[in-house]
């Protein structure tokens, strides 16, 4: 295996390899961050018994979900700039699934902002549905898309996708989709058990404990299937066994960590499982970016999909300067909102748990 890795690596420039890794990291960040807010969205009707519950749940992700979604836009943009052929084949090939993802993200995004804007219950119920489906559909379809990228889809000589929508619905891809769906739901449940109090906290922990074995089984099935494929069907790509094993170990530990009340570590574990799944897929892909099911010679690789050394150099400089900065201030915003979101007391005459005398104009608070 090591020899094949070395020879595969030698054929490509350091920048191409670097950008392949960057894109793997961008997708990992996206799935880890938006993964939990998808999870919160999917659990909204299950954990939220009344409107106040649902508002608490939504407010756990309120300040951060939009920033989480920017990792998707960055992953898309980086793929466009660094590997235009990958971007073009992937987006035009997976046309309808991406359309469905866009529709889901549109309704979900405006739902957060709009649901509290009118007082009648039917309005809120409709937007709650949008949040639920808008979280569930992408959670399923991202797994389907990534599994297909690796499994192979009909890509012809001119790098374009020759299949139809139905080529994308195959058992392996569906297992991939169910895996991301369950992983994100679990990730969201663990996040909520970290971010809520009292009864909602109880419910979230219970949901996480139910979801943990299901997600573990799905991830085990998907990674085992991937591992077997990697070693018996594909002879390129690499999957050092410790990566999927670590992912499975991490997710298998979630149930135990929750019982031991180590919610922070449980969240780390679900995040690691997600990263492990993405890493397994990208390691197995390397040096390909999309596999052709027609012929090996039609595979898209980091070589034939790349945009050229100058662009990659410019992008590298920009990324090295600004990514740490983004991580710093996005991390800071998570620190600012680290407190658990509390369900306010039932009586109408409550005030916000504000810091100090926010009514005084000198404080400058303008709400």
């Amino acid at each position: 295996m090591l020899i094949s890795v070395a020879s595969a690596t030698a054929a490509y420039s350091g920048l191409e390899i670097f950008w392949f890794i960057v894109i793997a990291i961008l997708w990992s960040m996206y799935f880890v961050l938006e993964g939990f807010d998808f999870g919160v969205g999917m659990l909204l009707p299950i954990l939220g018994r009344d409107d106040l519950d649902r508002r608490v749940l939504i407010n756990t992700i309120g300040p951060v979900w939009d920033g989480n979604e920017v990792w998707l836009i960055t992953a898309g943009g980086a793929t466009f700039a660094a590997f235009p052929n990958w971007y073009a084949t992937l987006f035009s090939g997976f046309y309808l699934p991406l359309f469905l993802i866009l529709v889901a993200l549109i309704f979900r995004g405006v739902a957060f902002e709009f649901r509290a804007k009118r007082a009648f219950p039917a309005w809120q119920a409709a937007w709650d549905k949008a949040i639920f489906w808008g979280s569930l559909i992408p959670s399923l379809l991202w797994g389907v898309a990534f599994a297909n990228m690796l499994r192979g889809v009909p890509i012809g000589a001119n790098e374009s996708y020759l299949g139809s929508f139905f080529n994308l619905l195959n058992p392996y891809a569906l297992v991939g989709g169910i895996t991301t769906l369950l992983l994100f739901a679990l990730h969201g449940a663990v996040f909520l058990s970290l971010k809520t109090t009292d009864e909602l906290h109880e419910r979230a922990s219970r949901a996480a404990k139910v979801l943990a074995p299901l997600a573990t089984m799905a991830l085990l099935a998907f990674l085992a299937w991937t591992y077997v494929n990697a070693h018996h069907i594909h002879d390129t790509g690499l999957v050092p066994p410790f990566v999927p094993v670590l992912a499975i170990a991490a997710i298998a530990a979630v149930g135990w960590l929750l019982r031991e009340k180590m919610e922070g570590w449980a969240f780390v574990a679900t995040a690691m499982a997600i990263v492990g799944m993405v890493a397994t897929i990208f390691l197995n892909l390397f040096p390909r970016v999309m596999v052709s099911s027609i012929s090996k010679s039609y595979d898209l690789t980091i070589g034939n999909a790349a945009s050229g050394p100058y662009t990659l150099r410019v992008m590298t400089i920009v990324a090295l300067i600004f990514t740490p900065l983004v991580l710093l201030y996005q991390g800071w915003s998570y620190w600012v909102f680290r407190a658990r979101v509390r369900r306010p007391p039932e009586s109408g005459a409550t005030t916000a748990p504000s810091s100090g005398n926010s009514n005084s104009p000198v404080e400058g608070s303008i709400h």
Binding site: L52, N59, G62, P63, D66, G67, V70, I73, T74, G76, G77, A78, F80, A81, F83, P84, N85, A88, T89, F91, S92, Y95, L98, F99, V103, I106, G109, V110, E113, F114, A116, K117, E159, Y161, S164, G308, Y310, V314, M315, A319, V326, Y329, Q330, S333, V336, F337, R342, P344, G348, T350, T351, A352, S355, S358, P361, V362, G364, S365, I366, H367
Partner: protein, 473 residues
């Protein structure tokens, strides 16, 4: 219709729709930053502090509604280059992809993260950081405009690249970011975004002033000051938009002469060309009725009373010689009229703002009923001008998608027509629904009066037993 036509319609519809909300995001972020800063500076003066805080609270509702739609329709924009324009993406990715990726990394993270801090964090960060957050959001919106317009400017006037095999490869990123076309269009778009916002602020404020006039109440200070602020900033923005638009026209005459000729439907090269105000009948030289301003086109395009303006026939011949046989004329009806709508709306807005400033100086603004009524209806004008401007600049570049390099017909994805029908119908239906919901919400919140401000719960202003001060959404 084939995949190409459907994809063009889809791109046009989704992009024009997206750009209804983008200018408001850019402009309102800036106005809110100004309002909040003024409130902060006057924090020891209860009357002024109160007024500016209330202004900020009133306008932020409209800002947030629009921001949400701008964000979600923006994701579609990025995705559809790959989905519908795969061959374009392959050809230009090396140059065009870079500003898109950098836009996300530099601008979108700033906007989204600090907007989160600004909306949710007022009790968790200091007043100064809370104030800095809205300025950072505002800077983010402008950075975003800069990078996406750099990508667009490259389509209008490709620089800093070489053609390598069957694609363009970037050779100079600095050249892409300092493209002469970019500087004019960036300033034109930013100032147009500010006009759009100030026209909205003026229109909504005018509606409130009319209402208090009818009720015999004193005009509310929140809306008097909002209208005044809108006119001061708006009139400056109009002058800037015209100035940079004029600058763009000159650059366009050099870089894309066909677009300039098509804007005017001017068939043959002429000196001292007149500017046609409007035409009834045929554009091809035999109009039924026309109004023309002598020499104005030469002045616009060449800064010279008798400057020469190239005609469509001559440019067509030159482009055939340069690029091979083909039709290099854009759709004249579209370019001629979209250009007139843009410029016409601009002139009307200029007159309105100028008159408003005069009223303001004479302290008659809140009493001048017909001006206030006009301002309410004039809210539509900047949106018409923006849409017409984009339709003009994009349709005027046809048949090219990247001027002189790649034709639109060679740029489209190899996707079945049926799929594109699904997405075209789907996006159009969804966007129409969003438009109805958005306008409904805008109308609802625009009607709130200036005192209708709850210190803690601006999102659910109706009082009720289940009010939740701690929760924003």
């Amino acid at each position: 219709m084939n995949t190409l036509d459907l994809s063009r319609w889809q791109f046009g519809i989704t992009t024009v729709f997206h750009f209804i909300f983008v200018p408001l995001t850019i402009g309102l972020a800036l106005l809110l930053a100004i309002m909040q800063t003024t409130a902060y500076k006057n924090r020891r003066d209860p009357v002024k502090y109160d007024k500016w805080s209330r202004m900020a609270i009133f306008w932020r509702r409209l800002f947030l509604i629009n921001f949400a739609i701008g964000v979600v329709t923006g994701i579609v924009e990025e995705f559809q280059f790959g989905m519908n324009w795969a061959d374009y993406s392959r050809y230009v990715g090396s140059v065009f992809g870079a500003p898109l990726a950098i836009e996300a990394l530099l601008a979108f993270f700033l906007e989204s993260t600090f907007l989160g801090i600004w909306i949710f964090g007022k009790d968790r960060v200091s007043a100064r950081i809370h104030l800095a957050s809205i300025w950072i959001v505002s800077a983010g919106t402008m950075l975003s405009a800069l990078f996406i317009l750099a990508a667009n400017a490259w389509m209008q006037h490709p620089v800093g690249y070489k053609v390598e095999g069957n694609r363009a490869v970037m050779t100079n990123f600095w050249a892409v970011m300092t493209n002469s076309t970019l500087i004019g269009s960036f300033l034109h778009v930013i100032s147009a975004a500010i006009i759009t916002t100030t026209m909205l602020v003026l229109g909504v404020s005018a509606w409130h002033l009319l209402r208090s006039q009818k009720a015999g109440d004193k005009p509310h200070p929140v809306f008097v000051t909002s209208a005044e602020l809108a006119m001061i900033i708006g009139s400056m923005a109009i002058v800037a938009t015209m100035f940079f638009g004029d600058n763009q026209a000159r650059i366009m005459e050099q870089q894309q002469p066909m677009k300039m000729a098509a804007a005017e439907a001017i068939y043959n090269t002429q000196s001292g060309a007149s500017f046609s105000l409007l035409t009834i009948g045929d554009l091809s030289g035999n109009p039924i009725f026309q109004i023309r301003l002598p020499h104005m086109l030469s002045v616009l395009a060449d800064n010279n009373w008798n400057g020469s303006v190239q005609g469509i026939n001559q440019i067509q011949a030159a482009e055939v010689a340069k690029y091979g046989p083909g039709n290099y004329e854009p759709d004249l009806w579209v370019t001629y009229w979209s250009f007139r709508i843009m410029v016409g709306c601009g002139i009307v807005m200029f007159a309105l703002m100028a008159f408003g400033l005069w009223l303001m100086r004479r302290r008659r603004l809140a009493r001048c009923t017909w001006f206030l009524r006009l301002s309410v209806f004039a809210v539509i004008l900047p949106f018409l001008a923006n849409s017409a401007g984009w339709v003009f600049t994009e349709m005027g570049r046809q048949p090219w998608i990247v001027f002189g390099l790649l034709k639109t017909s060679k740029a489209v994805s190899h996707v079945g027509t049926g799929y594109v029908v699904v997405t075209l119908v789907g996006f159009t239906a969804i966007y129409s629904l969003l438009a109805i919901i958005d306008f409904g919400l805008m109308a609802k919140f625009a009607r709130f009066d200036g005192d209708d401000v709850d210190e803690h719960d601006h999102h659910e202003p109706e009082p009720g037993a289940d009010r939740v001060p701690a929760l924003v959404y």
